[in-house]
Assembly symmetry: none
Homo-oligomer: 133 residues x 4
DNA sequence: GTGGTCTAGACCACC
DNA sequence: GTGGTCTAGACCACG
């Protein structure tokens, strides 16, 4: 699991970590039940504070993507992943809307926009697709 | 031009204003050359601080969506709107990626995701569509 | 709003704070829309670190009892309080079960146990009851 | 005696064990004088550490629910079970209060709350009730 | 060793 | 002024 941080981004570090873990799950690089590195080791690997890693884990635990297991530490949700909840739909629409309106104003066509969405969606399945041969 | 703020959102108010102005342009509710309300009046209408409105305008001016006109004050870009720059493509991909990976993990199908993107893109053209008919 | 901490309790400080705020809402001492003290001021009042107070606020925000308002800081949920969710029922049963089984073994009768539950439930409405005259 | 652990619960394993033993006594599944499985065998059955089971036994011995018997090893308190001490009343009230106040805020009615308490109390007597008929 | 909690002190964006 | 984030370093319960 490789995580690359942009320390000087406007996006919080913990959010970057959380997102890349989700991407890892989406791509099949991380599988249900897999053990995550301990907060300490990941923090040390990334050269950041353990609390920052911990916050990322907490956020994902809260959303149901990770679980804290008493014996194995933090693991990727071994049971059922959270589904397409109403809250997620809301979030999805809000984020899409913010980016779509700018695309419209900048003159990006409908097909270009949809093509970009599709490409990105498929990109997240890259690894998994490779694994499935 | 109606702007609705969510004071308890995690999204900064100035960003909410900026986005809704872009949406207004996308939908055709705001047209090139239109005069924007003065910082003071908009701030007063929204019941917020002058600085907040000003920051929203600054951001949009910076991106080329607004212009400062000698007599009319702040106006919607009367000339050519900023196009699909490489920077925008990057931003688009980054934002899509963040939401797409979560969609994948939550089990949202490719077609559902693309349909959502399309719906949102078209939603931004709602007003314009109405006007065109 | 008075909060009393047991610094040497096994119960985390942040949890004590969170619970006493909920009790304050239950009793009517805190009403929807009321502004909570800032993390800094409450922390200073209680003689603890601001992060500890912050965590209590975060937990309550997560559960929907508090909201973070961009202008007023942290406020008591002004809209609808979270209802009797399935998750709460689960939590309720788990906690009741833990205490009820011990009550049974210690020979506390059914009526004594129910009476205690009732008394405690009503106790939480003490202030509110007083206010309603 | 069946003990089921939730490894990903926030509740310590030793506490889960201790509670389920108390529940076993409450339900009549475990009777005064009954021999408890040895620390080693129980630990092995549950697939956990010796120390963890030991700690559960220590806690229960401390409270008077278990006793160390010269020959039989650890047994369920053969004499008089601990009664309704003042310390227990305190604990009972503290725990009930924490859950009752949240119930009040969430709009759970007095009768619903009392009904839940009663149901849980009786639930702990399920087995015993079955045996008595 | 793990995660959970707490402290202390700092910088930041926002309003 | 507010809350949000990050760092550094510490202690604890748990397994």
């Amino acid at each position: 699991m490789f995580i690359e941080l942009e320390l000087q981004s406007d996006r919080p570090i913990f959010a970057q970590i959380a997102q890349q873990i989700v991407e890892g799950i989406a791509s099949g690089e991380l599988n249900p039940g897999d053990a995550m590195p301990s907060v300490r080791s990941l923090a040390s690997d990334l050269g950041i504070n353990l609390h920052t890693v911990n916050k990322a884990y907490q956020v994902l635990k809260q959303d149901g993507f990770l679980q804290v297991h008493r014996k194995k530490g933090v693991v990727v949700q071994p049971g059922e992943m959270p589904g397409v909840t109403e809250a997620f739909i809301d979030k999805l629409h809000r984020q899409l809307r913010s980016v779509a309106s700018e695309a419209v104003v900048r003159g990006m066509s409908e097909s270009e926009f949809v093509a970009a969405s599709l490409a990105v969606y498929r990109g997240d399945l890259m690894y998994k697709g490779d694994n499935l041969e």
